[in-house]
């Protein structure tokens, strides 16, 4: 039996006692890619946060990389997330006080892994922003900041990359570039990829699309 990267069965997710999303099932193999779509408020972001262990599963079972995420303590989830999951947000948000390189090394530090200068340089070169390594985020263009956020997410060669609405504020050309870039770095590192979006332009890039409207 092949162990999947993500295995969800009959979960309920929400904040406090109020369920926001119920999902009967979702399976994603290692290196697999899927797109989660749905209208605003459908629970796409909630699902991504639950996979990342940022919120608890109310009921049901969610296995991430072989670990039952619902049974881990908060500190264990933090540690697991830092080591195995890379996250990309709609608001790219880099730490303003740190240079591009330090933003990447911060991810190593927070995840509790040794600093990866060599790997950081490789990733920055791959994403064509190595010359910006000593710049503060405020001096980057939107596209450059987007690349830094992607670089940060893949620095540790995570087993799973989660991207929340990565293209919602981009024009068509940038949207195409970013999606291709994320898919490409995921393939390069062998990471599974889950993207949540309500952006219809992204659908054509994925064969595996889950509409949360069907699962609720």
């Amino acid at each position: 039996m092949v162990v999947g990267m993500l295995s969800i069965s009959n979960i309920a997710l929400g904040y406090g006692d109020k369920p926001v999303l119920q999902l009967t099932g979702l399976e994603l193999p290692k290196g697999g890619q899927c797109l989660i779509t749905g209208a605003s408020g459908s629970g796409k972001t909630t699902l991504l946060y639950a996979i990342a262990g940022l919120i608890s599963v109310m009921s049901g079972k969610m296995m991430v990389g072989g670990a039952d995420i619902g049974k881990l303590s908060e500190a264990e989830r933090d540690h697991f997330r830092g080591q195995h999951i890379g996250m990309i947000f709609q608001t790219l948000h880099l730490v303003k006080s740190l240079t591009v390189l330090d933003n990447l090394l911060l991810a190593s530090y927070l995840a509790g892994v040794p600093p990866q200068h060599q790997r950081a340089s490789e990733v920055l070169k791959k994403l064509d922003i190595h010359d910006k390594r000593d710049e503060l985020p405020e001096r980057l263009s939107q596209g450059q900041a987007q690349r830094v956020a992607i670089a940060r997410a893949v620095l540790h060669r995570p087993a799973l990359i989660l991207a929340d609405e990565p293209t919602s504020s981009l024009d068509d050309s940038a949207c195409e570039t970013v999606i291709n870039l994320i898919k490409e770095v995921a393939q390069d590192t062998g990471a599974a990829l889950v993207i949540s979006t309500h952006d219809s332009r992204v659908k054509s890039h994925f064969g595996n699309v889950i509409n949360l409207g069907d699962g609720r």
Binding site: T45, Y49, L54, A75, F89, H93, V95, K96, Y109, L110
Partner: protein, 403 residues
Amino acid sequence: MNTLKLSVANLRFRALASFFNVLILALGIAAIVTLLHLSRQIEQRFTRDLQGIDLVVGAKGSPIQLILSSVFHLDIPNGNIPLAEAEKLEANPLIQSAIPIALGDNYNGFRIVGTTHDYIDHYGGKLAEGRLYEVQMEAVLGSEVVRKNQLKLNDKIIGAHGLANSDDLHTDFPYTIVGILQPTGTVLDRLVLTPVESVWHVHEHPDADDPEEVAYKKAHPEKEITSLLISYKTPMAAVVLPRLVDKTSSMQAASPAFETARLLKILGIGSDAIELFAGMLVAIAASGFFVTLWSAVNDRRYDIALMRSLGATRGKIFALVLAEGLTLGALGTALGLLLGHGFACLAQSWIERTRHMALGAVGFHPYEIYVVLIALAISAVAAILPGMMAYRVNVAKVLSKGS
């Protein structure tokens, strides 16, 4: 990347607020450190100058003034005492030694003291050059007097009337320098020492132009000295002698230990006020730390949520805020110590320039370690509440809001 580097980067990003927080703490610490050093040096100086003197006998008046003028050479004397009365007291069997002090003139602000060789021996004075004085108008100089005035053996110096620098020179009565003392770290270093007879000789003929001096000389034809520095032979003397002097003579007896303690207490009121002010500065700095860190955490809620999403535990986030507080505290404390030592050196140099007192070098004060620990503890306490706020950031909620 580590917690310290991240803290410093965050503080640098808010450079102006960080700078003022550090500066306020530094000023508070500097004031405390300066006070610590100066009070220690003054106390040490007083202790050295007081050594072995159990009682000072002089003219009636303020006992503190008597001690300040006769022991520390800082104030003007209350007046003079008749030599005959002083000699009668010297013969008391309860007295181990009695050193006469005769004041009246100065040389460039350094006091000319008529006394015996016992005075030099009392403070452990040793000759660097020359010999001790033998006859009137010979002088032995303390090391500071020589250094400040570039003097050498056999030079002639002219005293000026009074105990502060003045133009009323005794040009007809030059002193010959016959000896120069090694530094002792005591009051001896800044005195011109001569036989008591020299002081009598210079003032034997009052200035005819000064009616006050003429009248005084007429009223006091007998020989006088300023005071006697007395060492007791037995502890019983402490009970008997002061009362004996005060009740049976025209003189007063003052206990240097008691009067100095009283003086330091009076000075202490001033230093307490400065300490209070310094404490307020430290408290303001702590409040500043709190406000800065609180608003920084508030502004950086998304940063914090993001760091949690990158794998940081709540404990790590709390430690980061605490480290920022401690970094501010450490910078403020380090700057405060530097400024404190600088201020103490400046104050020391100013006091020495006034020729009232030569103080020792500003070294490390043992209490500085407590100042450092307290400052760091205050910084850590000021960071605890912002740290708790950071600890409790709801990651999913903040990330969902997107800013």
